[in-house]
């Protein structure tokens, strides 16, 4: 089994990291650069920057922010949000992003995925899905767009099944119902996603404890993306990782030696 990744999620709004509840609300958490450095030193295997208001903002300051972050961390950085065209993706890659994520515009224009993958490789393209249950007790989900503001009427599993042939390299799967709630993971969502797709899948939403992350790993998903629990100090990636490794999950151990 390839190693399981622990990823820090930074929801970005302008110059700030914010954190909402079920993708609603903009409570400020702190500086993106400071938090990226902090989580990187805790042993994050990757940092994901989710730009939550991309379509409403002028992005130049975001590009400069990305550069600053890339200069201060030595692990991969994925940036998602507001990518409408190939040149939007290029601007992110040029700022230093290692991988670029698509959500709303991929659903509207699926060809965008392969357009970007053809130049940067599918390993450079993450398809970000915000999945919301249609009803609390039913195992059916819909894809939301624009940071949870709009319904797309696109069925989650149907969309997920198309992504490999469309050229995506990885899925960032966010449970909207669990996001920001620290109430545990949507395990049904994880299981059906694993059954339907052969792509690497990172799960995000509600991770509150080592056992939540372990559940995700045991489902066969490839990474756990954590936001609120880190920002509010309930989890530390270092101890989380150590605990996962002791239960037998393959993961990059904390760096034993540094220069």
């Amino acid at each position: 089994m390839t190693t399981f990744r622990l990823i820090a999620r930074l929801d970005l709004k302008g110059p700030d990291v914010i954190k909402g509840i079920q993708l609603e609300g903009f409570r400020k958490i702190g500086s993106p650069k400071v938090l990226a450095e902090e989580y990187s030193s805790q042993g994050a295997d990757e940092i994901i920057l989710v730009d939550v208001v991309a379509s409403l903002y002028d992005r130049k300051s975001t590009y400069s922010l990305i550069q600053q972050i890339v200069n201060s961390i030595r692990v991969p950085l994925t940036v998602t949000g507001g990518v409408q065209t190939l040149s939007d993706a290029k601007a992110l890659f040029d700022s230093g992003a290692d991988r670029v994520g698509l959500n709303s515009h991929a659903i509207r224009n699926p060809k965008l995925i392969s357009e970007i993958a053809n130049i940067y490789g599918s390993q450079g393209v993450v398809c970000s899905i915000e999945a919301k249950r249609l009803e609390p007790s039913k195992s059916e989900w819909e894809c939301l767009t624009e940071s949870g503001r709009q319904r797309s009427n696109v069925n989650f599993l149907e969309w997920l099944g198309r992504l490999e042939s469309l050229g995506a390299g990885e899925i960032l799967l966010t449970s909207v119902d669990r996001d920001g709630t620290r109430s545990g993971v949507d395990i049904d969502l994880s299981k059906v996603a694993r059954e339907v797709s052969n792509l690497p899948i990172i799960y995000s939403g509600g991770i509150s404890s080592p056992s939540d992350a372990i559940e995700i790993a045991n489902c066969g998903l490839n990474g756990a993306c954590i936001g609120a629990s880190l920002h509010y100090g309930f989890l530390n990636l270092l101890t989380l990782k150590e605990e996962m490794i002791t239960t037998g999950i393959s993961a990059r151990p904390p760096e034993a030696k540094r220069l």
Partner: protein, 198 residues
């Protein structure tokens, strides 16, 4: 002066920031004349083999790279850069590579436990680098380099579904990384520096 060959294949942000952190002077260039003046050369890249080679040919960088290699000065390939140094690639049919490293570039075979693209940190084995542990490094690829068995190359490996595949390939003045040393923590920086000081 280190030259990073820019042939339009993907981002250079992490790589340039890594060299900054290593306090090494460098320049990014798309122009063969600059490559000719390099003491050390890095070929980065993400993306596909065929367009990559076409871009090298069109710009004349392919010849400049080969000349640099012949001169014995250090040359470092990363990810697609490593692949292009091979004899040939197989993506979308066979394409000739630069021929610096004898071998072919093949697609990774996926299984339930090993998904393609290969994304994530893996431990290298058989790395001789003066430390008493083997580092974890970051991979992001769908193709790998498959060396000709009769070649004189020093290999370090990563595990893939019951196989050992090359993570680092060393042949004389050329070092090639399948993973991204510029995104592999402090250990990655050490490996990158060592390769540039060959």
């Amino acid at each position: 002066m280190i030259i990073i060959a820019d042939y339009g294949a993907g981002n250079l942000g992490s790589l340039t920031s890594a060299l900054l952190e290593l306090d090494l002077d460098f320049q990014v260039s798309a122009v063969p004349e600059d490559v000719a003046l390099a003491d050390r050369l890095i070929i980065p890249g993400v993306g596909a083999f065929r367009p990559g080679m076409e871009s090298l040919r069109k710009s004349g960088l392919d010849e400049a790279i080969l000349n640099h290699h012949k001169s014995g000065k250090p040359i470092v390939g990363i990810c697609l850069g490593m692949h292009l140094m091979a004899t040939k690639g197989t993506e979308g049919g066979e394409t000739h590579g630069l021929g610096i490293l004898p071998g072919k570039v093949e697609r990774l075979e996926a299984s339930k436990s090993h998904l393609v693209p290969h994304l994530g940190w893996e431990k290298i084995s058989e790395l001789d680098w003066g430390h008493d542990y083997q580092p974890y490094v970051y991979f992001a690829h769908s193709y790998y380099f498959s060396p000709e068995s009769s070649s004189s190359m020093k290999l370090s490996f990563f595990a893939w579904d019951g196989y050992h595949l090359p993570a680092i390939v060393k042949k004389e003045n050329a070092t090639a990384f399948q993973f991204h040393p510029e995104k592999s923590g402090q250990d990655g920086l050490i490996l990158l520096r060592n390769a540039l000081e060959t």
